[in-house]
Symmetry: C2
Subunit: 327 residues, 2 copies
């Protein structure tokens, strides 16, 4: 198999995006900005109450892979859909941008996973995920050849929610490291960190690159300030990429640190995918040999594009945008 830049492993999800006000969140007991897991019945109840939606392929690692492809990177995605209409949509969208997606779909059982996303007037997104078929991702779905072919294996923390996916996650980690490859992990969500704190701390020590936003890294180390979190993650020795929304990002590489500004003048419409696309820009830079500070800029540019429209995946030629911004 030819070398690829990144293989992403994550929950295969189709997003259902709608716009609603804060009263809607309150009425349905939703925590703004968070990702909540819902079962089929809860999903169906919430969907019935939601305003009209737009369906668009999502999933954290899948969004990141879409960004990497849009930046000219070569990649693959591993995740589980059902052989249903939303599964076809997911598979079409990921393949049509040149990514390899070979995970066999589930032939019976739960439908393709979906995430009901409510975007409030402040552009914050609140996510309610019905994992569906994504829950059936197993170690068997991890093709060692693909992992060995990838410079970086990228794993989303959300994989820690479906039980069987943990084994898939660990297999990917082992195969990658045995092949001398790097592994990156994103912590995904502060509530997700809360659910799996001890395991996540151990994982951060094992992987080569960790992505986290401020809430996630504070939750991981149960500290109150960003500076304390910075010192805690420094001890792990892992390359840490910490995003802070409009305050930009901080990249911690051993004793070296880079502080990167957020893009300015962005008309923020929907923050869905901000972190996913930051990771895309960063990893696209890293796998093409760019210095860390420039990887951070690429992340910031890709994230800024993502939050300027509804939905996570790029809607413009990201490679051209980055070329224009970085000159």
């Amino acid at each position: 198999m030819h070398e690829i830049d990144v293989v992403g492993i994550g929950n295969a999800i189709v997003d259902v995006l709608c716009q609603a006000d804060d009263a809607f969140l309150e009425r349905h007991d939703l925590t703004k900005g968070a990702m909540m897991l819902v079962d089929a019945e809860q999903a169906s109840r919430l969907y019935a109450a939601m305003p009209p939606g737009v369906e668009v392929s999502g999933g954290s690692a899948a969004n990141t892979m879409a960004g990497i492809a849009a930046l000219g990177g070569k990649g693959a995605f591993i995740g589980k859909v059902r052989d249903d209409q939303l599964g076809e949509v997911f598979a079409h969208d990921i393949r049509s941008i040149g990514l390899s997606f070979m995970t066999p779909p589930l032939l019976e059982g739960a439908p393709t996973g979906r995430c009901l996303i409510v975007v409030t007037p402040d552009a914050q997104r609140t996510m309610n995920t019905f994992l569906g078929a994504a829950i059936d991702l197993t170690a068997e779905d991890i093709n060692p050849e693909v992992i060995r072919a990838a410079k970086i294996t990228y794993l989303e923390g959300y994989l820690w929610d479906p039980e069987a996916a943990k084994a898939a996650f660990r297999k990917a980690l082992d195969v990658a490291h045995a092949g001398g490859r790097k592994v990156a992990l994103t912590l995904s969500d502060s509530f997700c960190v809360d659910r799996h704190r001890d395991e996540f701390r151990a994982l951060v020590d094992q992987v080569d690159i960790v992505f986290a936003n401020e809430a996630e890294i504070l939750s991981l180390y149960q500290v109150a300030t960003f500076d304390e979190a910075l010192h805690a993650v420094r001890k792990a020795g892992t390359l840490a990429v910490l995003t802070r929304s409009e305050q930009g990002s901080v990249i911690l590489d051993g004793d070296d640190v880079h502080v990167i500004g957020a893009e300015r003048g962005v008309n923020v419409l929907d923050t869905t995918g901000a972190g996913d696309l930051y990771a895309a820009g960063f990893l696209a830079g890293l796998t093409s040999g760019k210095p860390l500070a420039q990887c951070g800029r690429m992340g910031a540019i890709a994230a800024a594009e993502a939050i300027s429209h509804m939905g996570a995946r790029p809607q413009v030629d990201l490679a051209a945008l980055v070329a224009e911004k970085l000159g």
Copy 2:
């Protein structure tokens, strides 16, 4: 049953919107701006070649009904989906804006219809429709109570493509007129007019209101100029609402004529739904007793909103927009 403003009858369709260049249209033999019917195999071949898409409820009359609801009108929609995921999406989106949608879904056979829409950089949309379950709309699906309850029954010309829907169409026309109600028809597409010219000419004589764009009305009467078409439709005696894109619209009411300007300063992103939303604004005005010229302005405002974003259905509070523009 309480009185409603409009009942729309049409093909129940979910749109799959993507952006591609003119070379894509040429490569796939697509006629820019037109609606082409495709079978399941053609749809699947075209979809495989398409870039990533966004799924959003569509269908011409259904879009019009969504616009009427967004303008505060009361309405219902009649159209056929399958009991599948896209059918659920369609039903959810139409019900969640307060429209009644009671047509029982098809339980076997073709999946919910979809329209593969390619939006080129000039904002033109080229549509490829797989009718799917929509083809199974029959006269049985026309609930006479709903038709009698509606001030206006609105029919899309596309219904003339699925054979069984013609009987549904005729039943609705008869029930409405027997109940002293009005019937409106949109010609839908110049190629659709071409396929059914003689029947459409007879229908224009029978209905009370006809909507057409310039290409459609020229095709209907096989004339070369808008002025000739105007005189031809005048003979029919039907209230004619003729839209001309950036040249505005002309409303012909017997000997009376209103010439309405298009909205200015619109950043045109995707013309999908322009005609549907013009009809929505016009009918919302008409059923709330507004003079014809103001109905035309409401149509122009709703159409301008539709073409300022990807997808046909309103993305802002249309009622507030109209109130602001009309003062």
